[in-house]
């Protein structure tokens, strides 16, 4: 059981508040994704929950133990797969699994048995007895995950597990995480800046931006709250304007006109679209093109923050981030 209480943040170098007053409660057995752009405070949150850095203020407990006063108990209860490679590059994969098992208090024989089991489970047989530096990115990631699982942790933390993997390996990794979660019943908490990943993997998505939680729900509910996007194309800008005026009457909708195209954002747009088309045809402005898109988590992020996740990713330099948060603090 992970009970994240209020957690103010940690000063790295100066007073950059990377995580500001987070209140969270995650139940045993959940699979949760922290989604947000780089610098949103996802990793910082994870580093606090895994005892790597203490919170500046507030508190958090993981598996029933406080992350500050019960560090040792927390470390016993959790598995951690960081952004880098947990396995030492000069070591052999199997040796690292055994040493990790020993660190968690397994006997020599148990550690070896568990290592052998994980090697088989995670399809590492061909590479477990090779030097870690000679493994591919995907193989290393699997080895790192195996290391995080050695002691059957109650909570497994994965910090951007799929970063740097090709699409094939990313898909494999997602399947692996889902399988492990289903088999072990452990709580799994991961961070990602890939929408598709959060969408495909997690039962619950916590959207983080500028160190704050801005949404916390299932991916399906986050998206259905936003509604579908119906994009209509017209022969001329005048037709588009006329159609837009007519569409304003659709209840609980949002209409945006861009020259000859009109975006209608509405719940259950895919079922309403037939009615909409008939109505517009009757009004003398039949659309020349129709597209209906289910909302993506990117749309959710855009809706919540006013900018798309990809934008936030590429334009936000760390200095922007810090000045923004500082001005917020001052304000």
């Amino acid at each position: 059981m992970t009970r994240g209480l209020t957690r103010h943040f940690t000063s790295r170098k100066q007073t950059v508040e990377a995580v500001q007053g987070l209140d969270l409660e995650i139940g045993q057995g959940e699979l949760v994704a922290f989604l947000g752009p780089n610098g949103a405070g996802k990793s910082t949150t994870l580093r606090m929950l895994t005892t790597l850095i203490p919170p500046t203020s507030g508190s958090a407990s993981v598996a029933g133990h406080d992350v500050v006063t019960g560090q040792r108990d927390v470390r016993h209860a959790i598995g951690f797969v960081g952004q880098g490679n947990g396995a030492g590059h000069r070591q052999l994969g199997r040796d690292e699994l055994v040493s990790q098992g020993r660190a968690h208090g397994l006997s020599r024989a148990d550690a070896h048995r568990r290592a052998a089991q994980l090697v088989e489970d995670l399809d590492l047989a061909a590479v477990a007895d090779r030097k870690v530096s000679s493994l591919s990115g995907g193989q290393r990631r699997r080895l790192d995950i195996a290391m995080g699982l050695v002691h059957l942790p109650r909570v497994l933390f994965l910090d951007e597990p799929s970063t740097g993997l090709d699409p094939q390996n990313r898909a494999n990794l997602q399947q692996l995480i889902q399988r492990l979660h289903a088999e072990s019943g452990s709580t799994v908490v991961l961070t990602t800046h890939y929408l598709e990943e959060a969408d495909a993997l997690a039962g619950r998505v916590i959207v983080v931006d500028h160190g704050r939680v801005i949404a916390d729900d299932t991916a399906a509910r986050l998206k259905s709250g936003l509604g579908d996007l119906v994009r209509l194309g017209f022969g001329s800008a005048a037709d588009a304007a006329r159609a837009a005026a007519r569409l304003e009457r659709v209840p609980d909708s949002r209409v945006d006109v861009d020259e000859t195209s009109v975006d209608l954002r509405v719940k259950d747009g895919s079922t309403l679209v037939g009615e909409v088309l008939a109505d517009l045809a009757a009004d003398g402005v039949p659309p020349t093109r129709v597209e209906v898109a289910r909302p993506t988590l990117d749309d959710v992020f855009l809706d919540l923050t006013g900018r798309s996740l990809r934008e936030a990713q590429s334009t936000e330099s760390p200095t922007d981030e810090s000045t923004r948060t500082e001005s917020e603090v001052a304000a």
Partner: protein, 250 residues
């Protein structure tokens, strides 16, 4: 068995795995001292070294130099693990912070002893008299010394926070003054007063003096005691500083 002991053994064991698997790396790491041995020893005039063969005087110094170099480089291994992420993984494991440092520092003894054995084996056919008991006693002193230097090197790696240039600049800046003022390459006798003072303040001086006496098969109690004290001071300071640095590591 307490957790500190079992954690320390676990860490040491892990650190030794690459040493056992690739023992040649230990030999490569000592090329520099061997080059010094080959090129420097023939230049030493017999009289400067107190009468005996130049090799007899020079070998203990080279052994101490090997210990100092090997142990002071070792932080680079930790640095690599800090950059790759495996240090972070160990910090999240239940391994105690002191064990993470002490286990690593203790491991330094093994490659150091292998190197002493190689140097002694190489020079024994030449004008070098082997006094096995003395060599073993000197090796014990140097083991303590290596643990301290290794711990300091890890502390430096932790303080450098993964910045290679900082680690190497500081390590190189300290390495040669430590070697020279300890009288490893040239005798300090007859040096200017200030240099003598610096030499007297360098704990390695006493370790090297004790190693010279022991390698010559002599057992002057005061010199050996001073050497032991020098090694013990380095070890104590190293472990203290190292454990503190490891506790702060995140």
């Amino acid at each position: 068995m307490s957790t500190f002991v079992s954690d320390t053994l676990n860490v040491m064991n892990r650190e030794l795995k690459p040493v056992w698997r690739e023992p040649m790396a230990v030999v490569f790491a000592m090329i520099q001292p061997l080059v010094f041995l080959g090129l420097f020893a023939p230049l030493l005039p017999e009289m400067a070294t107190g009468g005996g063969s130049a090799l007899q005087w020079f070998v203990p110094g080279i052994v101490a130099m090997t210990a100092l170099m090997g142990a002071s480089f070792t932080g680079a291994n930790l640095m690599e693990e800090m950059q790759s992420g495996s240090h972070e993984r160990q910090l999240v494991s239940p391994l105690g912070r002191p064990a993470l440092l002490v286990g690593r520092a203790l491991k330094e003894v093994v490659p150091m002893l292998m190197q002493v054995a190689i140097i002694v084996a190489v020079v024994t056919p030449f004008s070098f008299d082997l006094h096995l008991g003395g060599v073993l006693a000197a090796a014990a002193l140097l083991s303590v010394f290596s643990v301290g230097v290794g711990a300091l090197s890890f502390a430096l790696a932790l303080a450098s926070k993964g910045e290679d240039w900082m680690f190497w600049t500081i390590q190189q800046t300290l390495l040669f003054p430590a070697l020279l003022t300890a009288g490893v390459l040239l005798p300090i006798d007859g040096a200017p007063r200030w240099l003598e003072v610096v030499s007297m303040l360098n704990p390695m001086t006493y370790v090297v003096d004790a190693a010279r006496a022991l390698f010559a098969g002599t057992w002057p109690a005061d010199v050996i005691l001073q050497g032991a004290a020098g090694a013990a001071i380095v070890a104590a300071v190293g472990l203290l500083v190292g454990v503190r640095a490891m506790r702060r590591s995140s």
